[in-house]
């Protein structure tokens, strides 16, 4: 009966989840175009996604994807001398980029009438990036400053970097996106040039354009600007990714100047389209999302041991990543008590089925997050892009169907299968 109830509820919720029209096309050089027509606001976003993240980096060169991202702003053949942002801003737009473990995205938010400027800039830097030695040296310095600011001087980020670093033994996910200092220093100008040549090609990228636009008009312009760019000569081979077996719990203790101790528990979990990844989404909601979640109730309200509790899962990854439980603890003497309580709550998930109320709550949250993400065409385009990185943006529909058919038993099975010692890495941040 429970299964029937959940499916029924979701059929009610999900038939009308997308409130804008989405089209796709592929150019002759392999570049895929996704167009999101959303006329609710007179703005547009242009995003170029490259399937090149830290997962793709050669051994010893961690941070090269991110360093190249910085260099992409320094100039291309038609637009030399660091003028990208200047051009976009002087047309009333904003631009930026970000690198993740799985991909790198360049984006603009701009008036729809100025989209052709984005196309000019993005097509030129896809085909003709001007890599200059002096820019390379400057950006390396800037990235090292970024690393100091975001990691070395920030203990909470550093403990996460350390946990990820030991959770994986052989898998490239162990490497930080920004790169280790020694690796950043060892990257050569030639390395960056080769990396650009290997990964920044139309058949390893896709474009998402969203906003108050007309698809025919946009597609025609994109073809004019991008179709001439040649595909990569050597087809990019998918690396064989694997992680060696873990035999027991791993642990890192970091002592830094901080006031609140922090406990990080990270379990290795699968990525979508493995259905267990969705069951883990529901588990994350039950355990640690919101003030009515089990861990928040137990640790913040009942026991007054913690200041805050959170859980997170990243199903939209190119390979299985980590399910995190993160807790800011009031008193360093109580860290073991907190860890014990978290483990007890996790065991309870394996022996008792979650209540129907908890499942319905989790699903209400999924529904709301789908709807609210569409308040911003930029944000919605990012979600579509994450599915496209996995295979195809249309997976978003399958994702909804998969949630529809999820049972309470699936949720419990996922807890049993993944939330166990042999998948666990614990990080403890202690005040020095």
């Amino acid at each position: 009966m429970k299964k029937v109830a959940i499916i029924f509820l979701f059929l009610l919720l999900f038939p009308l989840m997308s409130y804008c029209e989405i089209f796709e096309d592929r150019l002759k050089n392999g570049l895929k175009i996704i167009i999101v027509e959303d006329h609710s606001s007179p703005v547009a976003t242009f995003q170029v996604w490259y399937k090149a993240g830290s997962i793709d980096e050669p051994e010893g060169k961690s941070g090269i994807s991110h360093l190249l991202e910085h260099l992409m702003f320094r100039g291309s053949k038609r637009f030399p001398n660091n003028v990208f942002s200047k051009i976009i801003q002087s047309h009333g737009g904003v631009d930026n980029a970000f690198t993740t473990k799985d991909y790198t995205v360049y984006f603009q938010k701009i008036a729809p009438s100025n989209l052709s400027i984005c196309m000019d800039l993005e097509s030129d830097r896809m085909a003709n990036l001007l890599l200059k030695k002096e820019d390379f040296e400057l950006e390396k310095k800037i990235v090292l400053e970024e690393r100091r600011q975001r990691y070395e001087d920030d203990p909470e980020s550093l403990i996460l970097e350390e946990v990820i670093g030991i959770a994986f033994k052989s898998h490239p996910y162990r490497r930080p996106v920004i790169g280790w200092t020694e690796d950043i220093e060892s990257i050569t100008f030639e390395d960056v040039k080769n990396y650009y040549k290997q990964f920044y090609c139309p058949n390893n990228a896709f474009i998402i354009v969203g906003g108050d636009i007309k698809k025919e008009e946009i597609l025609k312009k994109i073809k004019e600007k991008f179709e001439k760019i040649p595909s990569c000569e050597n087809k990019i081979e998918n690396k064989i990714l694997y992680e060696t077996k873990q035999y027991g719990e791993r642990r890192i203790i970091l002592k830094r100047q901080t006031y609140l101790p922090m406990l990080v528990m990270a379990y290795k979990v699968p990525a979508y389209p493995n259905k267990d990844s969705i069951a883990l989404e529901i588990l994350s909601s039950i355990l640690g999302e919101g003030k009515s979640s089990r861990l928040y109730r137990k640790l913040v309200n009942e026991k007054s041991l913690a200041v805050d509790v959170g859980t997170s899962n990243s199903p939209l990854s190119r390979d299985g990543f980590l399910f995190f439980v993160i807790i800011s603890i009031k008193d360093k003497e109580k860290i073991h008590d907190v860890e014990k309580l978290v483990k007890e709550e996790i065991e309870r998930l394996k022996t008792e089925l979650p209540s129907e109320m908890e499942i319905e709550k989790a699903k209400n949250q999924v529904e709301a997050s789908f709807l609210f993400s569409q308040d911003s065409v930029f944000g919605y385009s990012l979600i579509l892009g994450k599915f496209e990185i996995l295979d195809n943006w249309k997976l978003i529909n399958q994702y909804r169907e998969d949630i529809n058919t999820l049972t309470i038993q699936d949720i419990q099975n996922a807890a049993k299968k993944y939330l166990k010692e042999e998948n666990l890495t614990v990080g403890v941040l202690l005040p020095k």
């Binding site: 109730r297 200041v307 529904e367």
Partner: protein, 437 residues
Amino acid sequence: MKKFFTLISFLIFLIFTMKYNSVGATTMEFKNINLKNGAKIKYLYRCNIPIVYISVLISASPLDETKPSQAYLTAHMLTHGTKNRSARQIEDEIDFLAISIEKKVTYDFTILTLAATKRHLREATDLFFDILQNPTFPEEEFTKEVSILKKSIKQMEEDPSYIALKEFLKTLYGDHPYGRPIEGLSETVEKLKREDLEEFYHTYYKPNNMIFSIVGDINEKELKEIKEKFLDNWEGKALDRKITPPEFTLRNKPIEIKIRRDDLTQSTIVIGFEGISRKNPDFYAFTVMNYILGGGGLTSRLAKSIREEKGLAYSIYSTFTSYLFPGAFYIEVKTKAENTKKVVKLITEEIEKIYKQEVTEEELREAKSFLIGSLPLRVDTLKKISEFIPLLDFYELGDDYFTKYKNYIDKIDSKEILNIAEKFLTKNYILVIIGPE
């Protein structure tokens, strides 16, 4: 991220137009409803997604406090118990209905924003108006929140940016409320009593002190129901605010404050001056000047000089805060400790340059193009609209402000920018450095 996001001043204080001349031009035609009890409603119907935002701006802030943390904790304790619901029941409902109730306290006002799906709108509004109208501030919950707040402030006090800004504002404003963090101070938070919150609430959380915005998939009939059920019969009147402007002390020489933190690899540098109030006519010239100097992301003079040309920092920006009373203008940068002096010198050179020489025509043109052209981006979601439109009334900008903004920026010339820079940036600066020896 390539860029540390530095267009901060726009994100916070820029005022936007919705008149928009391009493909798919739209205008934001909201309705104003003034209630007998003094509450105002700004209503905008948008049905493209079945979601609704309701914001309420309350004229209550640290400016009205008798003790630090009073405004902050009053807002945050609203969801910790009402005459009808316990704290746990409220949390259960918020999570179950997948709604959110955000509480933001600024130096001038408090704003609460409810976000709900249309499907759960009725339950969500019941809850939202219950926490707004019937909070009870239970003792046990209050004690827990104070304990959590104290620990959280202590944790924030480990963050060099937090410390640097806190020291800068304290030096600039002295004992004025603008001179202390909105959430209060770790050393005073425990002096607060639950009765202080109750008193603050009963003094300021009155309908005549509130501006509502209701935005999204909610039709006029539904709006009327909300108005009749929750607002029309709500009685009570807040007295006029008794708020006092800050008194700035003349500095005969620059003030330099250094706080040693040997655990850090970088120095965090904050350098700044007195700024302007939101109602000051110089606001627009100041906006353009700030964009050119350090508010314009990687294209600003400071970013070019310190980051792009020399690689001395990842993040550098200038920003200004404009409130009912004059805010602050400051620059923040983080750099490897050994470069601290060099970076301070480069900043002071750029400050000097902008008050000694007129900005170029190209700089002026580009700044104006950005400021005018990017306006629709500042209100491109229902949430941004909902949180923005109450400010039109609060800062007395007028509903036609949207159409006027272009002219306000367009008319600025390089002489005005020079005058503004001379007026505000030639004083002796306050410099705070947090970092290793």
